[in-house]
């Protein structure tokens, strides 16, 4: 299962963030909840069906410009794969 860099990830139906006012920020999904902070929150907030995986990578490389760019890319791909396995993402063309 590999991630297509040109696909547009979007949270699947029934997977959503809690309200902005609720802390800690949490991704809610069927029978699961993931607390998000730092990079994981930055990634999930960009899974809006409008940005491609490639774009998300570029934006986070800029945001975390002190980190090694290839490391940022690896981490993002790893995290997206995890969310895909949880069935929290749809990848739109």
């Amino acid at each position: 299962m590999s991630i297509d860099l040109n696909a547009h990830p979007r949270l699947s139906p029934g997977c959503r963030m809690n309200e902005k006012t609720q802390q800690p920020r949490t991704l809610l999904m069927p029978e699961r909840a993931l607390r998000l902070h730092g990079p994981s929150l930055e990634i999930v907030e960009r899974c809006d069906g409008k940005r491609s995986v490639q774009q998300i990578i570029a934006e986070l490389q800029e945001l975390y410009s002190k980190a090694e760019p290839t490391k940022v890319e690896q981490d993002i791909l790893g995290y997206l794969a995890l969310l895909q396995k949880e069935r929290a993402l749809d990848f739109e063309p």
């Binding site: 029934g14 809690n18 069935r87």
Partner: protein, 374 residues
């Protein structure tokens, strides 16, 4: 981990009513069902949702009985969402039509869990004592047009274990992203019907193999979850994630229980949400404190390394099988009472050895159906 102080609960199981158009032979409702006239009001439930969210609860599971028999179901969904909760609806899919489904979605429902009694009409009818299967198939079609998470719940047992591939095919043809195959757990009505429901070890092994292969094939498409019947396990399940650790169940009349079956334990009294706040109940009620932590444990649990993983298993099962709610769960291979479970399984093996193995030709058992409350 020896303290009895409370963590934050994660989910609130809201048994909105015990009324249900179905009569499943394994229903987890208690044998003594709550009457309609004593059900909590919309306002009571709304307050409970607010209190739950303040306690740290993230998800509300609307269940029953059949939650759709509550005429105020839309208000209840809105109230839970307004409190900041994620709303799961666990339903048999009736009474429901397409416009009501649309209204549920608009009200903010997050997750629709549709329960099935089998992949075929005749099995579903035998198990639920009702004609409901065709309606469920209609609901599956409607669900394709709504932005909701969809889970298909199959409760499996000896009488429908031969239908697993058909069940999974049904899920694959739907918009479900999740399928749960849960073996019957033997409490409530299922305990009464246990001898007709328990699968043989051979059936069980085949099913586990099927789930593993299907999980691999469908990764990223459908999440498949299965729960094996603990009578066949080596160690017990961490029942409810540990007593009073993660979950809180509110019965239709407002009693707060640590699990579905807790009422079977004698001399345990439960507080009601009309008299106490959820926080008081969670943190200090006798029922939640009773088996929280480890101080209640006996040998072999008391000194066992697994006690922080399975918390000594299920208290209700300990009572049902060993007549002592503080005993090690008798399904555990280390439990002094394990021979009782082995004896039950030997009876199942023997019965299937002398009876025809083909499930569909096996004669229909004398089921005890779950009735409707007054």
């Amino acid at each position: 981990m020896t303290s009895t102080s409370a963590n934050d609960p994660l989910a609130l199981i809201a048994e909105l009513t015990h009324r249900c158009p179905l009569h499943c032979v394994y229903c987890s409702n208690p044998l003594a069902l709550t009457q309609r006239t004593t059900e909590l009001s919309t306002a009571d439930w709304s307050r409970v949702f607010q209190e739950a969210a303040a306690l740290g609860v993230l998800q509300a599971d609307f269940t029953g009985g059949e939650p759709l028999t509550r005429p105020d179901i839309l208000d209840l969904i809105r109230a839970a969402r307004a409190a900041g909760l994620y709303v799961n609806l666990i339903t048999s899919g009736m009474p429901l039509d397409e416009s009501r489904l649309e209204a549920l979605t608009q009200a903010g429902l997050d997750h629709f869990q549709l329960s099935f009694q089998g992949a075929r009409e005749e099995t579903a009818q035998e198990i639920s004592g009702t004609k409901a299967h065709a309606q469920k198939l209609r609901v599956l079609e409607w669900l394709k047009h709504h932005r909701l998470a969809v889970t298909l719940n199959f409760v499996i047992h000896r009488r429908n274990l031969d239908q697993l591939p058909e069940m999974l095919a049904l899920a694959e043809s739907s918009s479900a992203t999740r399928v749960e195959f849960a073996h019957v757990q033997y409490y409530g009505w299922a305990f009464a019907n246990r001898d007709s429901l328990l699968p043989t070890r051979e059936q069980l092994m085949q099913s586990v193999d099927f789930f593993k292969k299907s999980q691999e094939r469908l990764t990223g498409k459908i999440r498949i979850e299965y729960v094996v019947p603990d009578y066949y396990a080596k160690y017990p399940k961490p029942c409810m994630g540990g007593w009073g650790r993660k979950l809180m169940l509110i019965t239709p009349n407002g009693d707060a229980l640590p699990c579905h079956a807790a009422r079977v334990i004698p001399h345990l009294s439960f507080e009601n949400v009309k008299d106490h706040s959820l926080q008081e109940i969670w943190e200090s009620s006798e029922a939640f404190q009773k088996f929280r932590g480890e101080s209640w444990m006996q040998d072999p649990c008391k000194t066992c390394d697994r006690r922080t993983q399975d918390f000594g298993g299920c208290r209700c099962q300990a009572f049902l099988l060993a007549a002592d709610a503080a005993a090690t769960d008798p399904v555990c291979s280390l439990a002094p009472q394990r021979p009782k479970v082995d004896a039950i399984l030997a009876t199942v093996a023997q019965a299937s050895a002398c009876a025809p193995t083909n499930i569909s030709t096996e004669s229909k058992p004398a089921w005890l159906y779950r009735p409707n409350p007054a």
